[in-house]
C-alpha cells in the first residue's frame, strides 16, 4: 500500500509538472511535448484493440486521418471552434470504426488486419476525390490561429484519458474477456463470451482517441493534405512504440512513445541518414530480445503487478 501511495504521489507530481510546463517552456518545448501526448494517444489506442485482443490493426492511422479531415472541415468550412470540432473528429472516427469493424471483427484470423490496411488507402483516395469539401490533392488550409497552449492541454487530457481508460479496462472483467480472446478465441467462445461484440467494443474505444488527436493536430498545424494525414508510417510507428514499451500493459504505450520520440528528436534529427537503419534495428531488437517489451520483461523478472 505504501508503494502504491508513493507511485500515486509520483504520478501526481508528473501531471502537475506537465500542467505547469507551458508557463516556462519555450515554444518548441510545448510543441514537442504536445506531439509526445499525441503519440501516447495513438500508441495507447492501438494497444486497446491490438494489445488486448491480439487483432492487429494495420490501418489505425485511418482514424487519425478521418478525425483530422472532420475537424479541419468543421473549422474551415463551417466555422466551428476547435474544441467541439476535435470531439466531432472523435465521433466520426468511432462511426467509421463501427462501419468497418462490424463486418470485419465477426471473422477470425488475418482478415481484419488486411481490411484495415485497405481502409486507409480507400480513405485517402476518397479524400482526394471529394475535392469541393476536402480540397483534394491541394490540401486544406485552416485560418491562422495561435492556440498551441490550449491544444497542449487538450492533447494532454486525451493522453491521460486513454491511459486511464486502459487501466480501467485491464482491471475490469471486460478487459479479462478481451485478453481471453487474445489467448484463445475458441476457448473464450466456449466460456460463453460474445467475442464479436467484445472485439467491436474494444475497437470502437480504440478509434476515438486517434480521431480526436487527428482533429487537434490539424488545427495546430493549420494545413493538412491526404498524404500527410494518412501515412502508413504513422501506423508502423505506433505499433513499434507499443511493442517497445510492452503490449497489453497500461504504461507500455506511454513508455514506448516517450522513449522513441525523444530518441528521434535527439539522435535522428542530427543523423538523418542513419535513422531509418536505427529504426529497423530497434524493431528487430525488440522482437528478438524482448517480445513483450520493456514492461513485459520487467514484469517477468521482478514480479510486478499485471496492471502496471
Amino acid at each position: 500500500m505504501i508503494r502504491r501511495g508513493a507511485a500515486l504521489a509520483a504520478l501526481a507530481a508528473v501531471v502537475a509538472g506537465l500542467a505547469a510546463y507551458p508557463g516556462y517552456a519555450s515554444g518548441y518545448g510545448v510543441r514537442a511535448t504536445l506531439q509526445i501526448f499525441m503519440w501516447i494517444v495513438l500508441a495507447g489506442s492501438w494497444n486497446l484493440i491490438s494489445g488486448l485482443t491480439g487483432y492487429v490493426s494495420f490501418g489505425h492511422v485511418a482514424f487519425f486521418g478521418a478525425g483530422a479531415y472532420t475537424g479541419a472541415i468543421l473549422v474551415a468550412k463551417v466555422g466551428w471552434p476547435w474544441l467541439p470540432a476535435a470531439l466531432a473528429g472523435g465521433v466520426a472516427a468511432v462511426l467509421l470504426a463501427l462501419v468497418i469493424g462490424y463486418p470485419c471483427l465477426r471473422l477470425k484470423g488475418p482478415y481484419f488486419a488486411i481490411a484495415l490496411l485497405g481502409l486507409n488507402e480507400v480513405l485517402r483516395a476518397l479524400v482526394s476525390y471529394f475535392e469541393g469539401l476536402t480540397g483534394g490533392g491541394n490540401g486544406l488550409s485552416l485560418p491562422t490561429l495561435d492556440a498551441t497552449i490550449p491544444i497542449y492541454y487538450a492533447m494532454g487530457a486525451s493522453a491521460a484519458s486513454v491511459t486511464l481508460l486502459t487501466y480501467v479496462i485491464i482491471t475490469s472483467r471486460f478487459g479479462l474477456r478481451l485478453m481471453t480472446i487474445r489467448e484463445d478465441e475458441v476457448a473464450a467462445e466456449a466460456m460463453g463470451i460474445d467475442t464479436a461484440r467484445h472485439k467491436l467494443y474494444a475497437f470502437l474505444l480504440s478509434a476515438a482517441g486517434p480521431g480526436i488527436v487527428g482533429a487537434l493536430t490539424a488545427r495546430d498545424q493549420g494545413y493538412i493534405e491526404p498524404i500527410s494525414v494518412f501515412p502508413l508510417a504513422t501506423t508502423i510507428t505506433m505499433i513499434v512504440m507499443v511493442l517497445l514499451g510492452g503490449k497489453g500493459t497500461v504504461w507500455g504505450p506511454v513508455l514506448g512513445a516517450v522513449v522513441l520520440f525523444v530518441a528521434q528528436e535527439v539522435v535522428w534529427a542530427r543523423y538523418p541518414y542513419v535513422h531509418p537503419l536505427l529504426f529497423g534495428a530497434i524493431i528487430v531488437a525488440v522482437v528478438l530480445l524482448m517480445p513483450r517489451g520493456v514492461l513485459g520483461l520487467l514484469q517477468s523478472r521482478y514480479r510486478l503487478p499485471r496492471t502496471i
Binding site: 519555450s26 515554444g27 518548441y28 518545448g29 510543441r31 514537442a32 506531439q35 483516395a125 482526394s128 483534394g136 490533392g137 491541394n138 490540401g139 488550409s141 485560418p143 491562422t144 495561435d146 493536430t217 498545424q221 493549420g222 494545413y223 493534405e225 498524404i227 500527410s228 501515412p231 522513449v259 525523444v262 530518441a263 535527439v266 539522435v267 535522428w268 534529427a269 542530427r270 538523418p272 541518414y273 535513422h275 531509418p276 534495428a281 530497434i282 531488437a285 525488440v286 530480445l289 520493456v294
Partner: protein, 395 residues
Amino acid sequence: MTTKALGAVVAAMAVLVGGLAAQAQGPIRIGASLSLTGTYAKLGRNQHEGYKLCEKDLNATGGLLGRKVEFVVYDDQSTPATAVRLYEKLITEDMVDGVMGPYSSPVTEASANVTEKYKKVMVAPLAATTSIFKRPPDKKRYYVFMVISPAEAYLEGLIDMAAKRGLKTVAVVNEDTLFSKAAAAGAVDIAKKKGMQVVFQEAYPKGNTDFAALLTKVKSLNPDIVAAATYFDDAVALTRQMRELDVSPKAYGVTVGGDLPEFYDTLKANAEYVYGATQWEHVLPYPGNHEFFGAYKKEFGHEPSYHSAAGYAGCLIYAEAVKRAGTLDADRVREQLLKLEMRTVFGDYKVDQDGFQVAHRMVTFQWQEGKKVVVWPDEMAPAKPRFPTPPWNQR
C-alpha cells in the same frame, strides 16, 4: 542492452549539442528544416547542398555583417508535422538569427505558420504554389518570400510555342497533387487565352503508372498538343505508353522529371522531341552561373539540379537583403526583400507586395540527340525547336 546503447548515444549527443551552444555567440546562424530523407529526399538534399555552398561562398567573402555564417539544418523526413516542430525548435531553442525555407510546397505551407507566428523572415526557395503567398486579407502572410516561378508557369512555354506555330487543340493531364494541379490549371488558362481549344483534361492519382485508359481517350480525340503536369515516374511511364499506344501529337511536354538526366537514360530515343520545363539550366547566361556549376560539381561530385541552384540563390538573396538592411531585424529585412531586384545564378528576383515572385522566368527545353536544348523563351534560346514532332516510327 539496446536501451543502454541508446542511452550512450543520447548522452554523446547531449555533449555535442551543448558544445555547439557554447560557441553560438560568434556567427550568424541560419536555421532550416530540409527533406533529407523520405519522399523528397533526392531533391531536398540538392537544396541542402545549395545552402552549404552559399554558406561557404559567403564566408569566403567576409561573411555577413562582419560575422561568419553558419547553417543549422535538421531533417524533417519530408513531413509537414516534423518540419513545424523543427522550425519551432530552431527559433525558440536554438535561437537562430534567421531561417531559410524547407523543400516543397506542402512543407512550406505548414512551416510558414510557425515563422509568421515568431515574425521571422523566410525566403522559401522551393515553394512554387501561389496559394502560399496569395492569401485572403485575414490570412495574409508578411514574412515569407518566393524565389522560383509559380507552378502555373511550367507549361506556358510549350503552349506558347505551339500557338505560334498554329496548333489548335490541347489535351492536359496531371497528377492529383498541389503542384501538378496548379501547373495543369495554368496550362488550360494560357491555352484559352491564346484561343486554343482544350479538348481533354483529366487527373490521375499520385503514384499511378498505368495510363492505358487515359491515353486511349486522348488518342480518339487526336489533339495537336499533349501537356502533362508530372513528376518523374509518371513522366517516364506516360511517355513510354504513348509510344506503345501510338499517341502522336505534334508537340508533347512534361513538367518536373523531364529535366533529369535519368529521364533520357531510361527512355533513350523515346525521349527525343519531348519538351520539358525547368526553373534553371546551367547553360543559361546568368551572371556566375558557369562558375557555380563548376564549383558545385567540384564540391559535391555531381551536377546541380535546379533545386540546388534555387537553394543557393535563395540564400544569397536573403544575405543581400540583410546586407542592405544592415541588421537582422525582421521588419527591416522584409522591407529590403520587398524592394530588392537582383540577378543571381538562378536568374531574376523581384517580388510583389505579397512576397510573390514576378521576375523569375522559366525556360522550356527539348531533348535533341540526347541533350537538353533550351528552345523558349526566344531571347534565351540558343536553338530552335525541332517542330513538329514526327510520328513514333520515324524518330
